[in-house]
């Protein structure tokens, strides 16, 4: 088997002078895999996501992506290398229209280049979320939460990710929308994009992923396939 796409070794992360939030976390994510990451709030899931996406510098340990060391590169640089994140709470550029949101995510300043880049994935994006085509000229701030999450996902697709980090993609959304989001994740996986999906709601991820990590108190409490992590064992890992 070839080297993993993302290799995290002994990662310790914290804020300021405080106690680290993540202690010595190690795991690997293979090419094409959809890896689930679950845990209570406060377990360190979002911190891990921020550390992987370049928003937060690790105290020690190593993150390597496609064989290169990623420690300390900014978020924008990480995006350009292919690690794209969907932050928690469907955050979009609210003062801009849907179309403008998508244009910015193309990361170019020439209209023509932007158009070309968007056209390449247009079928995929509008095929998955026809509503976005309808709402093209609307301000993103006026979309519903679900539509904003779809816009987030569309934005991520345009950024041509190798690895997509999703932080609680179902949080605060209606079940129908969640269903929609998860079904599109499967199409993305089919299109060759690897994913790390964080959820508090483990059931949601369990049905979508092949392998799952349970995080508790900043440490990995359990790893395994969803079926191996059912029932009492999961409870124990989850609640401590």
């Amino acid at each position: 088997m070839s080297a993993p796409l993302l290799d995290v070794r002994n990662l310790t992360v914290g804020y300021g002078d405080h106690q680290p939030v993540l202690h010595d976390v190690s795991f690997a994510l293979n090419e094409g895999e959809l890896l689930g990451l679950v845990g209570m709030n406060g377990a360190g899931k979002t911190t891990l996501m921020r550390a992987l996406s370049g928003g937060l510098k690790p105290r020690s340990g190593e993150v390597s992506f496609r064989g290169t060391r990623m420690n300390g590169s900014s978020t924008a640089a990480s995006v350009r290398k292919g690690i794209v994140i969907l932050p928690e709470g469907h955050r979009v550029l609210r003062p801009l229209t849907v179309e403008e949101n998508l244009q910015i995510s193309a990361m170019r300043l020439s209209r023509r280049a932007v158009r070309r880049q968007i056209a390449e994935v247009q079928d995929l994006v509008y095929g998955l979320f026809p509503i976005l085509a309808e709402r093209r000229t609307q301000l993103a701030g006026l979309l519903s939460g679900g539509e904003q999450q779809m816009l987030s996902l569309a934005r991520a697709i345009i950024q041509r990710p190798k690895l997509l980090l999703l932080d609680e993609p179902s949080l605060g959304l209606a079940p129908v929308v969640v269903e929609k989001i998860y079904s599109s994740l499967r199409s993305l996986q089919a299109a060759g994009i690897s994913m790390l999906v964080v959820e508090q709601n483990s059931d949601r991820v369990a049905s979508a992923c092949e392998r799952m990590i349970v995080l508790r108190d900043g440490r990995i409490a359990a790893t395994g396939t969803p079926s191996s992590l059912e029932g009492a064992e999961l409870h124990a890992a989850y609640f401590g």
Partner: protein
């Protein structure tokens, strides 16, 4: 009446570039530029000196210098302090320090005396019974033109959208792949150029000297706050209001008390509508 309108508009015409500049860096870097007055004064004197033989050369050189100074201000006063995690008020002080350096340059290079930029068109026109210089009208026109250019930049171009993204949320802009530092720098360059244009306007219809730097600073800050510091075109609205308030006071209420009446308006606005008179949901965040 016509006199009131023309004078007010010409006051506003000078303030418009200034409030655009102040509001722009506030949105992108969260800093209020307390060196704004010094930028204007530098511009007025520089333009008068460099343009002594050829006005156009002076203007072009000065605007270029304004951009460079904006970038310098960002590089010297803002970036090192941001890296150190200095709070906003510290950054504001740093811009004040940069302004003092500019004052020093203005004094050493051009002397500290009041300077006048020769009007680009001579003569005067009369509207009804009111007579005014053509230059004054030209400045009003140019200011409106600048406004249009800025509107186009921010509303229609990808650069503008990127700037909007950065000022909305730095972290999220990074997630979108925007290299935020570059756009922040760009905002300072544009802001420097705008401040300089305001200074040239002022010097071409009145005069500037180092002593008026604080007044110009306060006028631009107050104008921007009245209209809405967080919104470019809200701030422009504030500049127009400020222009009218000052002229109205000078012509009809009590000559020589325009700053006082401006303060009254400012206090009222801050009490009643602290986000500014012309900020509305939807537009406020956009430009």
């Amino acid at each position: 009446m016509i006199s009131l309108v023309v004078t007010s508009l010409s006051q506003a015409a000078v303030l418009i570039p200034l409030v655009l500049a102040v509001s722009l860096v506030f949105r992108v870097s969260g800093v209020v530029n307390f060196g704004a007055g010094s930028f204007c004064v530098f511009a007025g004197t520089a333009c008068a000196s460099w343009g002594a033989s050829n006005g156009a050369v002076g203007v072009v050189l000065t605007i270029a210098a304004g951009g460079v100074l904006g970038a310098l201000c960002y590089a010297i006063a803002i970036v090192p302090a941001q890296r150190k995690g200095v709070p906003v008020i510290g950054l504001t002080l740093a811009t004040l320090g940069f302004g003092l350096l500019l004052n020093f340059l203005t004094r050493t290079w051009f002397g500290g005396k009041p300077s006048i930029v020769q009007p680009w068109i001579r003569g005067s026109v009369s509207i009804g019974s009111y007579e005014t210089s053509k230059q004054r009208l030209l400045v009003i026109g140019l200011s409106i033109l600048l406004l249009l250019v800025m509107w186009f930049l921010f509303d229609r171009t990808l650069i503008g959208h990127n700037l909007a993204a950065v000022s909305f949320d730095h972290e999220l802009a990074q997630v979108y792949g925007v290299r935020t530092m570059r756009f922040e720098l760009l905002a300072w360059v544009v802001s420097g150029a705008c401040l300089v244009i305001g200074g040239i306007f002022q010097a071409s219809i009145a005069s500037v000297s180092v002593d008026v730097a604080p007044t110009l600073l306060v006028l631009s800050l107050v104008g921007a706050v009245i209209g809405g510091l967080g919104s470019l075109f809200g701030a422009v609205g504030g500049a127009v209001v400020a222009g009218f308030v000052m002229t109205l006071t000078d012509q009809h209420i009590a000559a020589g008390y325009h700053l006082t009446s401006l303060l009254v308006i400012l206090s009222l606005v801050l009490l009643v509508r602290p986000t500014g008179l012309f900020t509305f949901r939807g537009t406020a965040e956009r430009v």
